[in-house]
């Protein structure tokens, strides 16, 4: 026995590294004097700490997790402390869900923390699992007023303090939200794909089921303006309603519907069912895209006083980003529409690619 360990220990050091050590993901969003929390904790770690696999078969089921819901919430939340200017913000667990990360399934604890007053300095102290697993890390993401802080909690760095600016600089905050809006359009390519699908045939007219180059630029320009305006109007409406709390739909539905809208717009180009009224298509689906924008905006953590400002800034950013991309692409659409290959190659093949992409993106 003694000699077996002997070699094992020597060679293991050089051995290939394994999959992930233990991490938890703690997302906090400060809104006024309340914090919304979402804490993703690996099921394996939950099992190791409090025992999940009730029947000992090596498989953890949703039923077994639910049976331990109270115990888990008590265990985890007692190892986290949030205080506002030295006064504790008590927790209230709100929900238990499940999610998948790169190394398996996680329990998702949703909770609220109510501070006695709007904090000037927020301190977060974390000690989950440190007594059991010295390599455990808590990855914090704190959102407040459009700012993000990240921190890695470990045994050597168990607390994090954030001083919240006493008075938000309005212009600075607005600029921050505009930037976030532009950034979201840039990285959230599904919105742009949708709009492009509608714009691809802008400089064409359909004659007897065949695409022909549009006779005048005026007509093409009008088409573009109508589509972009309809899309903008629609998504601004739902973005505002959702951001101000009048409208809420589950995010997975919204994301699925956005993916479906991209596919639908692209396939419509191939089949050619709705041509003249593409601006109505833009409006109808624009309503869905607005809900998607709202989800991003809400994730930024809107403080109560900045709600309207954030909405205006973010929407402005979205429009700026969108117009910039349209302006960059439009000359190519108009110029290339004169060629014969445009209709088969760009419209049919291009739309096919977009439809395929949206399908892939949703899986």
């Amino acid at each position: 026995m003694r000699t077996v360990l002997f070699i094992v220990l020597a060679v293991c050091a050089v051995a290939a590294h394994a999959h992930k050590p233990s991490d938890s993901y703690l997302n906090l969003k400060l809104e006024g004097k309340e914090l919304q929390g979402q804490w993703d904790i690996a099921l394996r770690d939950v099992d190791y700490a409090i025992g999940l696999d009730g029947n000992g078969d090596g498989a953890m089921t949703w039923g077994e997790l639910q049976a331990q819901q109270r115990a888990l919430q008590a265990y985890a939340l007692s190892r986290l402390r949030i205080d506002a200017d030295g006064v504790d913000c008590p927790f209230e667990a709100t929900d238990l869900l499940v999610d998948e990360h790169s190394d398996g399934h996680y329990a998702v604890l949703r909770f609220r923390a109510r501070c006695p007053a709007e904090p000037h300095a927020l301190t977060i102290a974390y000690r989950l699992f440190f007594d059991l697993d010295a390599q455990h890390r808590g990855l914090l993401n704190l959102a407040q007023g459009g700012h993000f802080d990240t921190h890695v909690f470990g045994p050597a760095s168990p607390s994090f303090k954030r001083v919240i600016a006493a008075k938000q600089n309005t212009a600075g905050a607005l600029a921050g939200f505009v930037r976030e809006g532009v950034w979201h359009i840039w990285i959230g390519y599904d919105h742009i794909l949708f709009l492009l699908s509608l714009l691809l045939p802008a400089a064409l007219v359909s004659v007897d089921g065949q695409w022909r180059a549009s006779p005048g630029l005026r007509r093409a320009a009008l088409d573009v303006v109508k589509i972009v305006t309809a899309f903008t109007l629609a998504h601004s409406i739902t973005l505002s309603l959702a951001a101000l709390g009048y409208l809420a739909l589950p995010s997975r539905w919204v994301e699925s519907a956005i993916a479906a809208s991209v596919a639908a717009a692209a396939i419509n180009n191939i089949g050619g069912w709705i041509l003249a009224r593409r601006s109505w298509l833009a409006f109808a689906f624009g309503l869905v895209h607005g809900l998607g924008f709202a989800a991003v905006l809400l994730d930024l953590g809107l403080p109560a006083g900045l709600r309207l400002l954030g909405l205006v800034g973010f929407n402005l950013g979205v429009e700026i980003g969108q117009l910039a991309i349209v302006a960059a692409v439009l000359p190519f659409i108009v110029a290339l529409s004169r060629f014969r290959f445009y209709s088969p190659l760009v419209i049919k093949f291009g739309s096919g690619c977009i439809a395929g992409q949206s399908h892939e993106g949703s899986v």
């Binding site: 077996v4 002997f6 070699i7 050091a13 992930k20 394996r44």
Partner: protein
Amino acid sequence: MKTLLLAVCLCGCCINPSAQATPYRPASADEVLEKLPTRLESRNEIKALRQAAADSPANPQAAFALVRRYIETGRAESDPRYYGYAEAALAPWLNAAPPLPEALLLSATLHQGRHEFQAALADLAAALARQPRLAQAWLTRAVILEVQGDYPGALRNCLPLAKLAPALTAATCVNSALSLSGQGASAFERLDGAVRALPDGDTAERQWALTTLAEIAVRLGRFDEAERLFTAALGVKQRSAYLMAAYADFLLDSQHPEAVVRLLRDETRADGLLLRLALAEQQLNTPELAQHVQALQDRFAASRLRGDTTHQGDEARFRLHLLHDPKTALTLAQANWQAQREPRDARIVLEAALAAGQPEAGHAVVEALAKSGLEDRRLAELAKQIRGAAS
């Protein structure tokens, strides 16, 4: 009609909610969320050891048995969580003044696993100061110094093993160090002789000796012999991620990607092995490649998030060969070279430097190789290219 069907099908797929990566509420209480990776008997043994350690908190041997078991399990399963458990279980014994040599030794092993070599060497020095006949400490120190490229230092620490350790272990330690400092052929002969003379040694010891021999053969360019030795090492019934990684590298270099896929098909949990599997799949252009590249990308991103840099060598290979990003690969490979200096660490620096069009970035490595007298056919070829590209 066809396009309409296509549209319906596509949209149907898009709307499928299970495809989304957002928190959800499982539909049924019976839905299996996660399977515990460790075998039941192993889990039960650990549970018993945990209980024993908790029952006698003043008994260091109970705690050490648990720590050792964690480390073994972590290695067998390629699962770093067990090293974290081991560290937490060991922590109280390191606070004792002074800590027992055995506690220091286990601590060194854990530091070594995370590539914290300085901390590991400090623990080993403290352990040996209190108990000079601690063979494990000499061996661990030799292995660390070898990884750091200090071959004379490694050799010095192997020598006491001649008296303190089983003969094959001592021979492997000594000849591994010698083979890296310009005596490849004679080290091979001596170690090969030792393996033949001691056919029924301990399993792990034998596997280590055969693996070391195979690696020397690869460096000397004796590929047929390397193949025979790797096969013999794999024939020893003990899982070794290190051995599989070394053999996979050999097969990749000798253009046998299909053999790599056969070897590693079910080894996707260890990043280092998944990397080699993906490299083979790239050569074969198999459909699993995209998924494995994505998985590696996610895992490297996850380790970066927690500030972990132990994967830099593997990540450099990933960046260079699978993402075709030589600039980032070179930065990672150079950072890795600062921490560890095995032949494979040298190789990725040279490859990335050539691919990035910055041969001068490989000069320090070429110089270090020349100084050590290391014989390695592939490294020599790369070093020649570096010198040729620079002049």
